[in-house]
Symmetry: C2
Subunit: 283 residues, 2 copies
């Protein structure tokens, strides 16, 4: 069985038809009333998370689990995250643990072991510490999405700066990602080392794609944060692959549908996103 993370994701995308990833960022005061009533904090988060997963699994090949939202509740939240990830896997979803860890050596190995034990396929990681901050995740059989060009406005303060050799800091990080990724190709042609590249930063994206031809881009910022169809089009590979568009609020907190449960509204939002993104990558 091929367990290369990029191949697993590629296969899952083929199966559902659209490279979308639902960002599971559950925040208590934004949950539907039906989830909160008669349930205490972390129980409500978990009930909601399971419901979202059930609703989106037919349309989304992947889920991005925001570790912070669960860690917020300490060890009880961490236990809830473990069960949530297990549920996502039972639905056949590829799991990206959005933990943005960035340590080295044995500490990074511990984070990798923790993520692998939970059942994650990919982890988001920081590359600021150099290659030894990323390699331990790969050695554990996980894929990594390295933070290259993040969607928040003030990331420019670091990532847009020019090096003396003409590259931006983000492009330097992209070269590091491509180098680390070259040793980890899947049979799909995509590497186990991917990159986080925000849809809102797609003007930098063409150069980043040229530097990372075999990387999957995990792309936040579409929709609610302002990223548009043309931004995604810029970031995909010529063959339409190599992107995983992640959306959170627009899917998990949709407009209610009159007479329908919140889960139906979530499913509809995921279906709509999947159709939009499929059109973009196939055009």
């Amino acid at each position: 069985m091929n367990t290369h993370p990029a191949d697993l994701l590629d296969l899952a995308i083929s199966r559902t038809g659209s490279p979308i990833c639902v960002g599971l960022d559950p925040v208590l005061d934004q949950l539907p009333e039906a989830c909160r009533s008669a349930r205490a904090d972390v129980d409500a988060i978990e009930f909601f998370s399971r419901g979202v997963l059930d609703a989106v699994a037919p349309f989304a090949p992947a889920v991005k689990v925001q570790s912070a939202c669960f860690e917020r509740f300490g060890s009880r939240g961490f236990a809830s995250m473990e069960r949530t990830i297990a549920h996502a896997r039972s639905l056949g979803m590829v799991v990206v643990l959005d933990a943005k860890r960035g340590d080295i050596g044995i500490s990074a190995s511990h984070y990798a072991a923790s993520a692998a034990a939970m059942g994650a396929h990919f982890v988001t990681v920081s590359g600021y510490l150099g290659p030894s901050g990323v390699a331990p995740f790969l050695d554990a059989g996980l894929g990594a999405f390295v933070l290259v060009r993040t969607s928040n406005p003030d990331s420019d303060r670091v990532q847009s700066l020019r090096l003396a050799d003409g590259r931006s800091v983000a492009e330097m990080m992209a070269d590091l990602v491509a180098e680390l990724g070259a040793a980890r190709p899947g049979s799909s042609g995509l590497s186990a080392v991917g990159a986080v590249v925000g849809a809102t930063k797609s003007t930098d994206g063409l150069a980043l794609r040229a530097r990372m031809p075999n990387q999957i881009f995990l792309i936040p910022g579409y929709g609610a944060q302002g990223g548009k169809a043309e931004d995604i089009a810029r970031l995909r590979r010529p063959d339409g692959r190599g992107v995983l568009v992640t959306a959170s609020r627009s899917v998990i907190y949709p407009q209610p549908i009159q007479g329908e449960s919140w889960g139906v509204a979530v499913a509809q939002a995921a279906r709509k996103l999947a159709a939009e993104i499929q059109t973009i990558v196939e055009q």
Copy 2:
């Protein structure tokens, strides 16, 4: 009561006499046999951690808790970390949660809330995402040690690169730290925003100190990793303050002392480190 994190740390250093921090990085197969016998994985880790804290508290004002070592055991490990940090606080120690988180906005706020709920005073964080990756920790009343110049050899691949304006990437990060820190001064004159600067990178340290005069440097790499007394001397402020030298293996896994328990050996190692560092910063 003054609860500014830099002031708390400064006071704790005055009380114990030396700016050292014990790195609590417990790894199962390195624990003394006395800790492992008759205890399962995470129970052994916790038993050891409590013993280390009890042993070092008279000599070390601070402990750096490596989150990865606990997360390695999932939610049970996380619960053990919560109890370990509570124990460190009960001993009057300042707690640095070495979590190296690096997210933004509400996710960063969640990490901050999690750390604060556990009782941490400081958190290690990545600045690659820009100011919005650091500010939420400060808003939660925590101090932050931002990764600026880490002690691992291959950090040069990122942090030593030159920008077009002549600064290194690490110096750029230092300027960001100083800027963020300027708004968070304690009555000690030290800022709530500190920096991780490895002892093994002290040749870069003079320039970093010039850019960050009011920052506490959390300094790994002394001893086992090769950092020497002159490295620490280079990184301190002219008044001898502004450094927190962290050591893990040399303190928590010391040479056994014939006829004494492992806890006595740990206490002796902490006492020795404290004396060494006190001499360096006071010279």
